[in-house]
Amino acid sequence: MFLALREMRHAKARYSLIMVIMLLVSFLVLFVTGLARGLSYANISALENMPAGYFLIQDDAGHAFRRSQLGTEEFAAAKQAAGADNAASLGVQTSTITLDAAEAKTDITFFAVDMEGLLAPKVSEGSSFGNEDHGSAVADAKLKESGVALGSTIRDQASGMAWTVTGFVNDSSYSHVPVVYINNADWQAMKQSAQAGNGSPSSEAPFNVIALKTSSEQAAGLASGLDSVEAITKKQAIASVPGYSAEQSSLQMMIAFLFVISAVVLAVFFYVITIQKTSQFGILKAMGTRTSYLAWSVLCQVLLLSVISVAVSLLLTFGMNMGLPDAMPFQLETPTMVWTGLLFIGVSLLGALISIVRVAKVDALTAIGRAGA
């Protein structure tokens, strides 16, 4: 530490510059990470917030909820295996609604659920409604921006059915559009009206998937007992939401590149400095300084620079998070921040390794017979 600190004290400008670069890169890493998390959350928060870990889905649906159709038979089997409280049917229908009060149309996704079951929405404002109440709905709070208020009437453009909004839930999006929760009775009515057109009114309209709150073995066992049904994890379900993977993978690639860039920038910087100091290291070794001490000195500098950079960029990220408008999807939980910061520091230390190899290779013999400084 003796050498490391004094060298940094003496060459303040040099080390400040590299710190600024690292600060900017680590800030960008945190920012893009937050953006990726935020976008992800804005996309599929309705799925993420579900208390279910597994979903039963038709095996030819490619994990996509809307392509799957399951009926009462499967639901009965699921309820029997997992317990009535740990299985719930879910109907998913994207649609466009018109607001009676305003001349505006909005895209939404209907989630048809058992209002007393596993997937019942947790109302944050207003009140929920029962399974028998026709024409009631609970909407995602984001719909407020479109003019929906408690007591507003929303009308489904396809079926012409209308619902009165009795309550709002927070953070409930599916495929970037707000979710409107309706009960199964209205789901049946909506589906029957759609099917009435093609003249084959079936007794019971199917729903899409069954949510399960069970162990993975239980879910897999249940799926194998049913014909052409598979069990997928919540993670798989989220990855199959249209657009989700494409959106996330491009952001993830940016983050990965930023990590690589920061490692390379730091590595090159320290490598150049180390090469400049080759004769100094030779002198120090001749005078009896151990290589391990010199290596530790380099490592200390990298550690100090990266820790300070990460700390400052965390503060910046915090500050910016406060100032960001709500419309900007940005979300960074403490564990994500801590892991990102630690990874950044780890990658920086990795970049310091080539300098350390270089330091180790310097021969003390070069100190003798050297004219220049």
Binding site: A286, G288, I368, G369
Partner: protein, 225 residues
């Protein structure tokens, strides 16, 4: 009077097979405490090889070297590093101070390497700096010092850990005559006040006034004239 540096039949050859070049050929040297020996030789005569071997930086092809009675033979690289730290003081051409350490810190650094306590190290540094007329300059960086002052700091640094012997590699090479003579005089003074020994390698014959013995490196052996 004890022997601080002893070199017996030291040979160093470079290359292999047909093209062996013997730089040192059965070289003998014995330096006792209180002695200041100058080794002269034109460039290419093997002065650097001689000093590297004496300074435990280079393992000779054959022969034995003892520093303060301790044989270098069979020591690991780490043991040699430790020995250089505690038993040998080095002076290099153009001082080679660390640019980012203040004068006093240059001395405290080597003391710290030898695990010398803070208070003790500070006292030792103060004694050396005062004796070499550098006390007023203790808070300066090397870039603020003149060439002669730098070399004086190097003298102080070399004596800091109370080594058995000081090895100086052309300490006057980057100085003018007056400054060079001053530095050599100070090395001689320190040899006396520390009661240790010094070997200076140089090609400059004007610097020999204060040396107890002058040897010439010729054909890989040291000869007195």
């Amino acid at each position: 009077m004890s022997t601080m540096l002893e070199m017996k039949q030291v040979t160093k050859t470079y290359g292999d097979g047909d093209t062996t070049l013997a730089v040192l050929r059965k070289l003998d040297l014995s330096v006792r405490s209180g002695e200041f020996v100058a080794v002269l030789g034109p460039s290419g005569s093997g002065k650097s090889t001689f000093l590297s071997a004496a300074g435990a930086l280079l393992t000779p092809t054959s022969g034995e070297i003892r520093i303060d009675g301790e044989s270098l033979h069979g020591k690991s690289a780490q043991e040699l590093t430790e020995l250089r730290l505690r038993r040998i003081g080095f002076m290099f051409q153009s001082a080679q101070l660390l640019p980012y350490l203040k004068v006093e810190e240059q001395l405290l650094y080597v003391a710290k390497q030898a695990k010398l306590g803070g208070r003790e190290a500070k006292e030792r540094a103060a004694v050396l700096l005062q004796r070499l007329g550098l006390w007023e300059r203790r808070g300066h960086y090397p870039e603020q010092l003149s060439g002669g002052e730098k070399q004086r700091v190097a003298i102080a640094r070399a004596w800091m850990n109370k080594p058995a012997i000081l090895l100086a590699d052309e300490p006057t090479a980057s100085l003018d005559l007056a400054r060079g003579r001053e530095v050599v005089q100070m090395i001689a003074g320190e040899v006396r006040s520390e009661g240790k020994a010094a070997v200076m390698v140089t090609h400059d014959e004007r610097m020999l006034e204060w040396c107890d013995r002058v040897l010439h490196l010729e054909d890989g052996v040291l000869v007195g004239r």
